[in-house]
Amino acid sequence: MKENDEYRLLNLSYFASALLMPQLELASLRDLGAQFRTAKTAALFEVVSWLRLGTELAFFPEEHANRLLAGYLDEVMPPTPQAWRDLKGLLSEQVDVLNLLEARVGETLSVRGSSEQRFDNASAILPLFRSALLLGTRIATDSRARSFTLALGFLPDVPWKELILDCKIDPNQVALAEGVGAVDASPFVPELVYAGFFRALDHMDALRYVFEDCADRESLGYDVPRLRSRVLAIVGWRFHASGKRHRFIELVEKISVDMAAEMAARGEHGSPGSEAFRDRALYLMRYWNEEEEMIAHGVSASV
């Protein structure tokens, strides 16, 4: 083994225990209909993407990471050409990488020739990567956030409106839904979706926090925005606020109105709660979608 590989194996041990195995177990459940298969494929491909990025940064020892991938290749890669096409439709930011991986499945985690930018100082960025991986693991294993992901990205328009937007929500039930463990109920119980939405906001805020906190560190240079883009390309699809941003906004508006009504009933008209919630939730959406970068490149993303 190469120097430090023994220590880096611990990182791989964490990855296998906390992300790979739980995601494989989740994918083996028959709890979702056919229309959600793309979500399952994307969740497994997300695992591969983390492994690949971690290997590129030498967070994982390459030889052992490749061994791990080879062992589970059949289970984590899209199984059919159609699955690859669906995945490319969902992960439009990663099409180049997906094309390369599709052509070279099983060879290696280092997909040389991809259009992704390399890091200037991989060692210096490792603590940040580790934090991002921890948060990515938290997102991937969050059953409430998964309810929101499925509703936002995959529920047809009519049930989205009737089940999610038009229903009356008791906030205490949302808090209760958030507090229970993994549930067998349909992922589209409205309170679960709302709880998942708040969890999604929390995940988005967490990722923003760790990246913005490092943004001003000169020693890291462009590696911070570079890593941020790479990470968002991996996890962004879960709260696919770019493809379904109108739904995201609809939900924010509804909750904002409900919060304002509750506060008015309590006589708290001067409270900044509902307006502040709306503004900040939409800010997080724009951050998650990297819309500032889109605006800078002349693409409209007004809210």
């Binding site: 990855f15 229970v180 800010y283």
Partner: protein, 327 residues
């Protein structure tokens, strides 16, 4: 910058928890973080794991620590005493002698069983010398309750020496110190330094949409002004009310044990509260050193270090040094 001093590993039998294992050969301290109401091992502490390594030049003390971010499930639905019992089980399995799986590739990967080297990175029987327990909000209560449970167990099994049986002052003083040293040698958990961020040991919590925010949002950097502005955070909404039977018992037990048996530092916790905290009642127990108020921080932000707020990295070290000097 060199590679980070710490590597990541999952913790056996503690789902959601993780550890940062130090490469430093003089590692002798375990720091265990326990999140609060609705929190988890990651979002409650956010940049802590990152800054421990990226600021290792400024805070080299962390290099000799293994750091555990413990997670317990159902913090809103399970009684605190149950969470505390689970924490105690974890503490017994970790300190002073941690599980060996922490120091090797220990993931269960059925298809590749035996293909990964399983050589431990620490010698067999490795033991920590020091323990620091760090809790946030409800996590503080969980820690205090776990200590009380363990103390009562030892007491009921006759493990506590009788410190009141000495007749003369000199005899008492000398013997007390000796006996307490022996007690801490046998039960080093009670020699832990305990640091509490925004502890809910005097009460907390809310309902309504504000309750949803508290329950679902752990990070709240972008959303923090909502928390600070909500008038809903009044005593009327508290679940963990000051004066609840649980908190009253906890306070009474902690203060009594700290008085009866002064040497164990674990009953004397240092609390840090954000001045903007509107969720918990600010204050400390009789036996605690005075609480510290942190400017411009709220309930959630007080325990999250950042590039512009590195004090939490210092606070943890201070508490450990305070404990060492007290010993």
């Amino acid at each position: 910058m060199d590679r980070p001093v710490h590597d990541l590993n999952a913790i056996k039998n503690a789902c959601g928890s993780y550890a940062l294992v130090s490469r430093h050969p003089e590692t002798d301290t375990a720091v265990i973080f326990v999140h609060g109401f609705g929190g988890d091992s990651q979002a409650t502490w956010l940049d802590f794991p990152s800054l421990i390594d990226s600021c290792s030049g400024e805070y080299p003390w962390w290099n000799t620590c293994d750091v555990f971010f413990y997670e317990y499930a159902g913090s809103r639905t399970i009684p605190i005493a149950v969470s505390a019992h689970k924490l105690l089980t974890f503490l017994r399995a970790t300190f002073p002698e941690p599980d060996g799986s922490l120091f090797r590739f220990s993931a269960t990967v059925p298809k590749l069983d035996g293909l990964f080297p399983s050589i431990p990175l620490r010698r067999e029987g490795f033991k920590y010398k020091n323990l620091v327990l760090v809790g946030h909000s409800e996590g503080a209560v969980v820690i205090r309750r776990a200590l009380i449970e363990e103390y009562k167990r030892i007491r009921d099994e006759g493990g506590l020496p009788n410190l009141r049986s000495f007749l003369t002052f000199e005899e008492t003083q000398a013997a007390r110190e000796r006996i307490q040293r022996e007690f801490l040698r046998d039960y080093p958990l009670f020699d832990a330094a305990v640091l509490l961020f925004a502890p809910a040991h005097l009460g907390a919590t809310v309902t309504g949409w504000a309750g949803v925010l508290v329950s679902c949002l752990r990070v709240c950097s972008v959303l923090a002004p909502i928390f600070d502005g909500l008038k809903a955070y009044s005593a009327a909404y508290h679940d963990l009310k000051g004066g609840s039977p649980f908190l009253t018992q906890l306070r009474s037990d902690t203060e009594k044990f700290a008085l009866d048996f002064p040497q164990p530092q674990a009953f004397k916790a240092r609390s840090y509260f954000g001045e903007k905290d509107r969720i918990v009642c600010i204050g400390e127990y009789e036996s605690d050193p005075p609480a510290v108020l942190v400017k411009n921080k709220g309930h959630l932000a007080v325990c999250k270090p950042s590039q512009s707020y590195k004090e939490p990295l210092k606070y943890v070290r201070y508490e450990r040094e305070r404990r060492v000097s007290a010993s």
